[in-house]
Each structure stands twice: as C-alpha cells, then as structure tokens.
C-alpha cells in the first residue's frame, strides 16, 4: 500500500527540504520505493539538496499540464536505485498547479511507489495546501523556538481541516519531527524543552535531530546526510525516524551534550502513532 507523506512546517528555514531528502533517502535505503516530490514551485531546492540539479529536464508543472509524461520527469537517484525525484518548476507561476492536476499525478505515483514524500513550501498559501491535500501521513518539522512552534500549530490546524482525509472523516497520521535541536542550550535552559513542545502541539514525536555541521556538509555536496555520512548523529536520527514511519518500535533519545549514563537511561520512548 502506498503512502503519501507531506513534510510541512508553516515556517521557512526549519529543515523541511533537508528532512524530506533525509527521510526519503533513509526509507529508500531500507528497500522501499520512494519518490520525493518538490512542491515549492518557483523556489525549488530539493534538486540541489539531492545533487540532481544538473539533470532536471521536466518538472511537476510539466506533468500536471501534460507537457511531459511522468516517467520522463522522474529523476532516478544515482546512489540508491529505489529513490526518485520529481522536481518543482523554477520559472512558472504558482497557479500552474491545480488540485485536479496534482491529484492525477499523485494517483499515478501511488501505482509505482511505496512512499510519496511531498516537500511542502513554507507558508500557508495554495502551494502548502496542495502539498498536504492528498496526504495520508504528515511530518510537521519544528524547531525548539517560539515562532516555529506557533506556525506548526497553525499547520496542524490546517492538516485537520484542509486535507482530503480531514474532509472525508478519515484519520490523518501526524508526527512531530524536532530539528536543529541544540543540546547545550537546552541543558542551560535557553531553549524550549522537548516535553514543553510536545505538550503544546499534542502530536506524537517522530524524532529529534540535533543541530549539526554534518547536515550543512551534506547539503553542500548534494547528498542527504543519511547517504553522505550514515554514521553521524543526524543521519542516525533520520534513519530511526524512517524506521518508526515503517512501523518499527525504536526508542527516541534526546540528543545530549555529553552522552552520559543518565541520558542513556532516560531515553524517550516513541509515542504510539
């Protein structure tokens, strides 16, 4: 059964594209057939983060408008053979996407892939609404910071009202992915605690990704961190999150400044989805 998963946040710069690439790659590395769909029409970047920017010929808008067939627009990853990218258009206007057209493309993707990962644009406008419209699962990417948490709350409200599943009364799985977590500042009490964010947003935790130079390095060279540096803490967080998405039960550990005995003992257990 194919699953459509939107990676969304409301706020920009929290790590949607990085997380889409890393989660998608981790799922593909686990043998799943995955396509990453960039919904950020006009400001695409998933191609760059995936290192496929030189190979983009056709895009989502071409397929929606019938200028290209879906197989012509799909770019196969050179490192993981079950991983594909459907890029966003760079030059056309945002009205190029229609709900009917996106629905058609998603239905076609469902026939070929286990996971359709939709990388949402920032904001709450049409692009973000179309990215979440057909989702079965939502990953809400949040930073431990007040404006990000507020925007995530807004997006959760939209997931509960504007998606097809919400309108037809079906359950939409929602998960919180906490990114750019700074263990040192959390210890000093300068950063919101994981518990506080979970209490406010009230959706289950999918994972915590620590702020890490490895993520920047991976973006620089055009590779998801799970492929570029699989042993890094960030890659392991994403790989564990992907395993949870596949239904495995993997304990969530809060990244610690020094991984002492206490933090190992008090690792957080994943909330049931």
């Amino acid at each position: 059964m194919s699953k459509v998963m939107v990676v969304t946040s409301g706020k920009g710069g929290v790590g949607k594209t990085t997380s889409s690439a890393s989660l998608g790659a981790a799922l593909a590395q686990a043998g799943q057939n995955v396509v990453l769909v960039d919904f950020d029409v006009g400001l695409r970047n998933l191609d760059l983060v995936m290192g496929a920017e030189r190979r983009v010929v056709f895009d989502l808008v071409n397929v929606v408008q019938g200028d290209a067939k879906l197989p012509q627009a799909l770019i196969r990853d050179k490192r993981v053979e079950t991983l594909y990218l459907l890029p966003a258009s760079q030059t056309r206007d945002k009205d190029a996407l229609t709900e009917e057209g996106v629905g058609r493309v998603i239905a076609e993707l469902r026939e070929r892939f286990d996971w359709i990962v939709c990388d949402s644009p920032a904001g709450i406008e049409k692009g973000a609404q179309l990215a979440m419209r057909f989702a079965d699962i939502a990953v809400v990417v949040t930073n431990p910071e007040v404006s990000s948490v507020r925007d995530s709350d807004r997006i959760i409200g939209m997931l509960d009202s504007k998606t097809l599943r919400a309108e037809t009364g079906e359950r939409l799985e929602k998960h919180l992915l906490l990114t750019r977590y700074d263990a040192a500042r959390a210890t000093k009490g300068e950063m919101m605690k994981v518990e506080d964010i979970l209490e406010i947003l009230a959706i289950p935790l999918l994972g915590i990704v620590a702020e890490s130079p490895d993520v920047l390095t991976a973006s620089n060279v055009g590779s998801p961190v799970t492929l570029h540096n699989p042993a890094s803490a960030a890659a392991r967080s994403y790989t564990d999150a992907a395993r949870r998405l596949m239904g495995e039960s993997v304990a969530i550990n809060t990244p610690a400044e020094k991984r002492g005995l206490m933090s190992r003992l008090f690792g957080r257990k994943a909330a049931a989805a």
Partner: protein, 87 residues
Amino acid sequence: MSILNFFSRNRSSAPVAKDRLQLLLAHERVLSGRPDLAAVLQKEILAVIAKHIPIDQDKVVVKLDRGAKVSTLEIDIEMPDEVIAQG
C-alpha cells in the same frame, strides 16, 4: 574512510557547494524569463521526426546534463522495426 578524509570532509565541502551553485546559477540566470528550452527543443525535435515516422510519446526518454562549458541533451526515441521498414 581514511583518517585524512575524516578530518578534511567538513572543510572541503564549502568549495563544492560554491562550484555547484555557480554552475547552476549561470544556467538559471540565462534561462530566467525564457520558456523552458529543453521542453521547447524536445517538442520541436519530436515534431520533425513525427513527420516521417509515428512516435509513441510514452517511449521517449529525455536526459539532460548541465556542464560548465557544455551541456548535453539526450533524446532516446524507440523506433519499432516495422516502422523503419515502412519508412
């Protein structure tokens, strides 16, 4: 992975990022405001070929590789033997 690699990895990725961006942006600045060149080329090339032989649009594979000095546009069109025989 060697120890040398381990220490040089973080430092050496920024120049890679710069090179990739310069190449990408050089193409995007030229193309901005113009219709998608690859799409236009594909459409016109296929129209010329379609005058002579029937083409199954689903069997057309288009690949592009943008380079610093030269980009290659590769268009694979499947031609069944009976079509060639008729031509």
